[in-house]
């Protein structure tokens, strides 16, 4: 087990003490344990859909105010894992779960913890932009409050702040009353991000946020993630390895429900320790 004291991005090279050496057997011990600034810790997380065992003993640390990417082929469980982090997994009929997930040290599956409250601390953005079609842009941003029957302090300020954080303010500030679905795909996705940020969460989960977007919109969202990292902890699931390489600080590679390797993004993409990781990221999965 390698221990890593959480590096600040510029001091990265000097503080990493890893020993990722390519092991021909492909089973090098390569899990990275983040000792400082852990926002979420997963311990032996298992998940099932009916009889299908989709997550097998996943143990992982999500670093605070960093972006962690989950990569892996389709069906490897990365979306399932991310949905365990905000307890959206259990909403699916037939879904089962076992294990511990700690948010700031507290078990989120504890009986006394209301999933509804959890989801206000851990927000989520989905693959297809899903603004509420019957609400205006402004009401979409405030949806988390209004639909819950609550009134935020200074709603106009909140709308502006959230839209600015989502890099959408300048494009929509004059048309806040237009329907949410009148925007382009990329704008809709940023609207969904603003909607999630309006609740002032601590963690933002992103499930393939750019897969339905064109390259320019993708670039804007990726740029956004760089900015958001300074305030929020980001966990992003992505099919695109280049995106994971561009955007994240840490990368976890999942395969068939197992965590194969977890390390800094730079290590994973220049010298992965596990042969399976190497095969997947270089395109040798035939």
């Amino acid at each position: 087990m390698n221990t890593l004291t959480l590096p600040s991005p510029t001091a990265f090279r000097t503080s990493v003490t890893d020993e990722s050496v390519l092991d021909e057997a492909g089973h090098a011990e390569s899990t990275l344990q983040v000792t400082a600034g852990t926002k979420i810790r997963a311990e032996d997380v298992n998940a099932w859909f009916g009889k299908a065992h989709v997550l097998k003993d996943i143990s992982l640390d999500i670093a605070e105010r960093r972006a962690t990417a989950l990569i892996g082929p389709s069906g490897c469980g990365k979306s399932t894992f991310i949905r365990c982090l905000n307890r959206l997994h259990e909403v699916v009929p037939g879904a089962r779960y076992k294990g511990r997930i700690l948010l700031d040290g507290e078990d989120i599956y504890h009986r006394a913890l209301d999933p509804v409250l959890l989801r206000r601390r851990v927000g989520m953005v989905f693959q297809r932009p899903n603004p509420f079609p019957t609400l205006s842009i402004r009401d979409n941003v405030l949806a988390g409050w209004k639909l819950a029957g609550q009134r935020p302090k200074d709603p106009d300020g909140l709308v502006e702040r959230s839209l600015r954080q989502a890099a959408l303010w300048d494009e929509v500030k004059d048309v806040l009353n237009r329907s949410g679905s009148s925007l382009s795909g990329g704008q809709q996705q940023r609207l969904c991000i603003a909607r999630a940020l309006a609740l002032e969460p601590e963690v933002l989960l992103m499930d393939e946020p750019c897969s339905a977007l064109d390259p320019i919109a993708t670039a804007k969202v990726e740029e956004l993630i760089h900015e958001l990292k300074e305030r929020y902890t980001i966990v992003i699931v992505t099919h695109s390895m280049q995106q994971a390489a561009r955007v994240s600080d840490f990368t976890a590679f999942l395969y068939l429900g197992e965590l194969v390797e977890f390390n800094t993004t730079e290590a994973i993409f220049t010298r992965p320790a596990n042969q399976r990781t190497e095969d997947y990221i270089t395109g040798r999965f035939g």
Partner: protein
């Protein structure tokens, strides 16, 4: 070792590998030829060796261009990325070795005016060691074998010490016999070129380690991390 799902990509990497080996083989034979040309005073061979440089330069440009194209189109990662960046560096070192072989041949031709004199066993030893260093570096590249690299790095120390011995030897002779100065300086220059070839062969070896293991051991004494020269 699994192959890339994309056959065309796999073929491109294979082609790159072949071109590198071709260049390596040519450079190796250039070094051998230049050394033989000196020891046998074969000026024709020396001239032919100098001609070979065109081919080496052409290969350098071609391989560099090919690497750039693959980098742009394939966005390689991990071992592929290391292979490509190593290829770029290997090509530079190989081209320099070729230039040095040319330099040796030029010196040989230059020394034609001098009568044959004593032989220098240290020089012969240097030449032999350096040639096997180049050969082994290329072997290590083919086999992706970082263990050989360690041996090559050690040999470089041997070459360096041979060089300084030879340098002083020649210096003494030159001080004794003024007519031997032209020849002596020629020999010293050739020795310097050989020593430089050894350095470049060491670079090749270090790149092979990086390519195979992902560890950058340049400017370190050995494969052990943390040690420095």
């Amino acid at each position: 070792m699994k192959t890339h799902t994309d056959r065309a990509y796999e073929d491109e990497l294979g082609k790159l590998r072949e071109e590198l080996l071709l260049m390596g083989a040519k450079v190796e034979s250039m070094v051998a030829a230049s050394v033989r040309a000196f020891s046998e005073r074969d000026y024709d061979l020396a001239r032919r060796t100098i001609e070979c440089d065109h081919e080496i330069n052409r290969l350098e440009v071609e391989i560099d261009g090919f690497c750039l194209s693959i980098l742009a189109r394939r966005q390689p990662v991990a071992s592929d990325l290391r292979f490509l960046t190593s290829a770029l560096k290997l090509v530079t070192d190989l081209e320099r070795i070729g230039d040095l072989a040319v330099n040796i041949s030029e010196r040989t031709i230059d020394l034609a005016v001098d009568p044959p004199q004593r032989s220098y066993p240290n020089l012969a030893r240097m030449a032999e060691t350096v040639q096997s260093m180049v050969h082994d570096a290329l072997d290590a590249f083919v086999a992706s074998d970082p263990a050989k690299a360690q041996w090559i790095i050690e040999q470089d120390r041997v070459v360096d010490s041979l060089y300084s011995q030879l340098f002083h030897e020649v210096l003494v002779f030159m001080m004794d016999d003024r007519s031997a100065i032209h020849r002596g300086m020629g020999v010293q220059a050739i020795a310097k070129h050989l020593e430089r070839i050894g350095d470049h062969a060491t670079n090749l070896a270090e790149q092979v380690v990086f390519m195979a293991k992902g560890r950058d051991i340049r400017h370190q004494a050995s494969l052990e991390p943390g040690t420095t020269t």
